[in-house]
Symmetry: C2
Subunit: 373 residues, 2 copies
């Protein structure tokens, strides 16, 4: 029973399917056929996103939005527009793409096996002590990756926590790369869904988001990135970061699939949003079942309340991989060892709420009945 992969399992909902079908349909007629679209994305989809942000009180211009084939490529490529001299800070644990792409780019030194960390990267520990959200670094940084709701810990940054980072970034002219791919899973209305809900964020933050998890588009491929024209950073005029990202996208990318974009448009309609909400509710009920199940046998769990990931402390201070083997052997459940997300993930284990309800229930029952604690 797999609780390991962060992949969607529910079919795409009717009105979004209709959008995708319309996307295919229009390619079959000479009157409605379209070839290359804008590298930055369909203007109708960008307008829908402007409206989405406006609904949560955030003012974003269409020219600040770049439609992409998903959050992963954007998270991976965004570093390429910055100098190799830039100092990068990442949360530890974190989604591996932030680290791997900076390593490949050559922005880090050697891998220190003992510490499980790359030289030259600034790791911001996310631990039980700080409730899995880091303090601002105590040194000069150029690029700061933040992910909220967090993969893998499921922690969500509060307004105050983001404000601290924004003030810090503005003070030293650093840039925050804010991965909001799981923002739709935030059920608590006091928690910010976009970093731009916090004053000053547009001067220092790039936000990356995705249709993958809310609309079931993990295989369809559609996401977006906001690069505000207000960003101020060292050696860069106002608007320059937006211009450079635009240049990068126009040179290396040829737009997201027009079929996927029709699906995205449908997902942002009122009907589509209601369906997305139902999908989110389904996965969040899975998360609740996992949380409650594990807590009932006195395991220590975090996350899973405003995020589709449950971050579990391994019992008896077991190492992540040791627990992986134990869980598999005793309960036939597969999860993700925390160490895979960084050194501070050691001793933790990620369980994913993406899955069919019956499988989730069966897995949790098996853990409750068979895990020897």
């Amino acid at each position: 029973m797999r609780l390991g992969i962060g992949d969607t399992t529910k079919p795409i909902t009717p009105s979004i399917l209709k959008g995708l079908n319309y996307g295919v349909e229009r390619l079959g007629h000479v009157e409605t056929y379209r070839g290359y679209g804008d590298e930055q994305g369909d203007i109708r989809l960008k307008a829908s996103l402007v409206k989405y942000y406006s609904n949560i009180g955030v003012n974003i211009y269409s020219s600040e939005i770049f439609i992409s084939d998903g959050a992963k490529p954007d998270c991976a490529n965004i570093q390429s527009i910055f100098s190799l001299e830039n100092v990068v800070a990442i949360q530890d644990p974190a989604y591996p793409v932030y680290v791997d792409t900076n390593v490949i780019a050559g922005r880090t030194g050697q891998f220190n096996k003992e510490e499980g960390q790359y030289e030259g990267l600034v790791y911001m520990p996310c631990t039980e002590e700080n409730n899995f959200f880091p303090d601002v670094p105590s040194r000069q940084i150029d690029l700061i990756y933040l992910c909220s709701p967090n993969n893998p810990t499921g922690a969500v940054a509060t307004r105050e926590q983001l404000k601290n980072f924004i003030d810090y970034a503005r003070g030293i002219k650093a840039i925050i790369i804010f991965d909001a791919a799981y923002s739709f899973f935030i059920l608590n209305h006091d928690l910010p869904k976009s970093i731009y809900e916090i004053d000053g964020a547009k001067e220092c933050s790039i936000e990356i988001n995705s249709f993958s998890k809310i609309a079931g588009f993990t295989g369809v491929r559609l996401g977006w990135t906001v690069v505000p024209k207000d960003i101020i950073c060292e050696n860069s005029d106002l608007g320059k970061i937006n211009t450079i990202w635009n240049r990068r996208q126009c040179t290396f990318f040829n737009g997201a699939s027009n079929i996927a974009q029709e699906g995205g448009l449908a997902a942002l309609t009122e009907e589509g949003q209601e369906e997305c909400k139902e999908l989110v509710d389904y996965y969040m009920e899975n998360a609740r079942i996992i949380r409650e199940g594990l807590k009932s046998i006195w395991l220590v769990v975090y996350g899973g309340e405003n995020a589709p990931y449950i971050w579990m402390k391994t019992p008896n201070n077991m190492r992540s991989w040791e627990f992986f083997d134990k869980l598999l052997n005793e309960t036939h459940v597969v999860g993700t060892p925390g160490i895979g997300f960084g050194a501070r993930g050691e001793g933790y284990f990620r369980l994913s709420a993406f899955g069919h309800r019956e499988n989730i229930k069966e897995a949790i029952e098996s853990i409750k009945n068979n895990l020897r604690l």
Copy 2:
């Protein structure tokens, strides 16, 4: 009347549409829904491409094929797996992405305005004298971009010409990046559609191809790249280039849209291939109309016989942009100034065969009647 853009205009054909519809349809049912696919692409699609190559006498393994969201991103990203010290040779004129991405990567020096070329790049002139296919460079090169059928000149490399480059590359352990995005437009059976038709190519060549122009997928986004395990190059073990590209794709990319891939599968069936052939025939008839029309008024034209582009010499040695203005003002036809593809494109003009038949005919009639020579 636009003869400028290399974009498809014909609707997607019935059996390929059916494939796309099936791709959407299966996402709507829990039994057939799929999330993330392999970063390297659907194994069924890779198997179809293995068969496609086998049909032209070329032996490619599935693990050497990487499905992508189009030839442009692959042409752009392929350079990223090579050292910044590598010396790059490109055809002049050439598809601008080869140059631009190497410039952005930092593999070139300053732009020399007088020569219209970047320092540090090795330009291989494609001129009337060499029938628009270059001789091998006379110095040590690491990466060689070749495009055949060529955008913009419409020239197609012969077996002998490719053999020369392959022998040269093998001799100095260089790598050829072979852009075959227009290979389906080759009507002459003596001309190679894949560089792998030539002995030794698998030891030194990466081939990039696309569904864009044959299946009308410019907006759907689907392509592929072949990275043979046999490639031998300086400081690299056998199979290493394949491994590095795989690593790059797994880190920066999350697979092509599964809907597009179903369309690609349909395009590679016997029925799909017949429909693609009809599309190609349509555009090639457009090319014939453009060629014959221009020749009838004694203009000098190249290409357009095994490629969808006509490369026209401007009359009276006019500069490309001067002719652009003249053509627009006198005939209301828009084309692409050759200088946009490099210094050796000066004095030439690219006309595209992608377009509706009536528009093409109207444009050519207007040129014949209104262009003052």
